[in-house]
Amino acid sequence: MNSDYSRTEILKRFAPILEKTSTMGWIWIIALIYLVGMGVYAAYIQFTEGQVVTGMRDHVVWGFYGVNFLYILGVSYAGAFASAILHFIRTPWKIPVIRIIESITVLSLCVGPFFIFLCMGRLDRLHYLFLYPRIQSPITWDVIAITTDLIVCIVYLYLTFVPDFAILRDHDELKLPKWRKNLYRWLAIGYRDTPTQRKRLYRATRAMSTMIIMMAIAVYTVLAWIFSLTLQPGWNSSIFAIYFIVAGVYAGIAVIIVSLYVVRESFHLEDYIVRRHFSVSGFVMMIIAVLFGYFTFSEYFSRWYSNKEHDILLLNSLFDRYFWHFIFANYLTVILPIVVMTFKRFRTIKNISFTALVAIIGVWINRYLIVVPTLENPYLPIQDTRLEYVFYSPTWVEWLLIVAGIAGFCLLFTVIAKFVPIIPMQEVLDEPETVNDTGEPKISGIEIKSYT
């Protein structure tokens, strides 16, 4: 295919990331390990002393953990969705970002379930889900869907990694410990990039990416049904499935943009991850933001207009107790991407990344406003209970575990970036003219590549 020269060139470019870790890098990793350790401590406290150490009580039985689970899985599905769609789009500018997206997908899918474990009262009985399954329960659907999706995502990600493992195997000059070289050899499963191997790999990857798009929709739908199939005034809504998918994709795109920014800055990949990446994903984010705003508006507008007693009680709570949360999550998060992307002079890498950060927080609060205030406003008013237990407020245990979850995500991301090139080398080699000197892609537009 390509000359060994270009292979060596590109390897040289990425070798330092894989071989060495700077002092700052070590500080970053140790800090993350420390935070994860703190989280483990908090989890230990929770499991020994009971969930009384959290802010969850008899009415608000799902707090931060539930929201975070919902959110992280949303990010994961968005990642899967995006990477699978990118797989079908033949455009060179996708190459530098595709692995980042895939990593986000798998890592969030690994981190997410921990929050549902934390939410469970009896983790020691987790296997009862398989011992005594009830097919009618949305939780059962969820368990099946998430485990299946995790397997699908891991297989998919592995398929996309195979050619790079092969490159890493074939270059003995990398200064890496022996076990890592052996591991690369094993993981490369004898891939030599022959036309037949290439064809097989492509066929498998194509099938899996189709699968992933459908899985992402199915899984997030099922997750939304956990809420919308109940009778609760704020949850019993038929648009929840699509609303959750849109919100998840929104958060996912935002996480991708922020990750791109971080990877670009920390690994100095300015020549690979360019402004074009940010503006394209920025526009996608804006479109999703508009959709998100549309669904949010439909959801609350119909509740407000139809004026049912329990819906109104919930809305009153949202516009009173949760006023600023509501403004941030459902106004600012919708309006900011539109403003930033509409005016060309606002459309800088920094601005788009900042907007993405706002969206990350905004969608999280939006999820929180769906879960918690509804539980605080059940059909029968909360009475004959200690007043301080009526409203939910998270404790340090929950805060610490949320932070530990984010830290764990970052840690795993760092490890992946250290372990395999964060830019897929094989694909760069296949498209030597991915970007030109000005940072603009040479091949614009979209064409479907055919291998047959």
Binding site: T148, I189, Y191, T194, T196, R203
Partner: protein, 296 residues
């Protein structure tokens, strides 16, 4: 018998009250408390013609009933000049002492045919002696069950037994009818019985158990002369349960709707077929890699 006699349903309430005892505040520990003591005595003639003598012995403290536990109550059959001990019974945790004597027990009766019985607690320690007497005439309730298309009836005969053992219809009395429920008895009628006979029209809309069987109680209660007299009969006059055991909807069953299982299985098979397809391709890639290695 002027003292109030409790029906067994009230007995249940008593047990209920007993279990309702509340924890006293700690400060009560050193206080002098005052109790109003009650010693109640009554007699029942049961359906099997045995006779029970029942004493309730308790104190009342701030509306709360405090039973006297394990107190020995002695029962005497008395005439004007003699007292014969007929039995003793200790109070239970509920403060109840129950002496039941067989149907053929021969009591000493006075000229008018009354059985005079005295219940006595001798007193011990700080607790004074208590005693109460009652006089009761023996009475037989006989039930005759009549089934007819116009409705079922129960004819009640109430006969007093005189000193010679002859049965004489009583003049008049209240008469009560019940059917036994799960935990209590449902009153189904009461009336005034005259000249020893009463015909009761049995209601036609009582469900009974699953076979429509009903246990009917006919009672004379708190009667000055006869105390409490109970007679029972089992009839099959119930309409059967109001509800049949309902069908369980699939969402609530153990297994779930078929379509749901089929749909889920189909989806899962599709996904796994895909995964296996990918793994198959990886295996083939691996094989080709090995072949390449061997040839080179």
């Amino acid at each position: 018998m002027r003292n109030s006699l409790y029906k067994s349903i009230k007995y249940l309430v008593l047990v209920g009250l007993f279990f309702n005892l509340e924890t006293l505040p700690l400060s009560a520990q050193d206080d002098d408390v005052s109790l109003d003591m009650e010693f109640r005595f009554k007699t029942y003639k049961n359906a099997d013609k045995t006779r029970s003598f029942i004493v309730e012995f308790y104190g009342t403290m701030e509306k709360e009933r405090v039973p006297v536990y394990d107190a020995e109550i002695r029962f005497f059959n008395s005439t004007e000049d003699e007292e014969v001990l007929i039995g003793t019974a200790n109070t239970t945790q509920e403060g109840i002492s129950n002496l039941t004597l067989p149907a053929d027990y021969s009591y000493i009766k006075d000229e008018e045919g009354y059985i005079n019985v005295t219940a006595r607690f001798e007193g011990s320690g700080d607790l004074d002696s208590f005693e109460e007497s009652l006089a009761v005439r023996d009475l037989n309730l006989t039930l005759e069950l009549n089934e007819s298309e116009d409705g079922n009836t129960i004819t009640v005969y109430a006969n007093m037994i005189d000193n010679l053992g002859e049965e004489i219809p009583i003049e008049e009395s209240d008469i009560y009818f019940y059917v036994q429920g799960m935990v209590s008895r449902l009153p189904i009628g009461d009336d005034w019985l005259e000249e020893g006979e009463y015909i009761f029209d049995f209601p036609n809309d009582i469900p009974g158990d699953k076979n429509g069987t009903l246990l009917v109680y006919v009672e004379i209660e708190d009667n000055d002369d006869f105390g409490n007299v109970t007679q029972t009969a089992t009839v099959n006059w119930g309409t059967g349960p109001r509800l049949e055991s309902g069908k369980v909807r699939m969402l609530w069953s153990d297994f779930g709707p078929i379509w749901m299982i089929v749909l889920m299985s189909t989806l899962l098979i599709a996904v796994w077929a895909n995964i296996i397809h990918s793994i198959y391709n990886l295996v083939r890639i691996n094989q080709e890699g090995k072949e390449l290695k061997e040839t080179t």
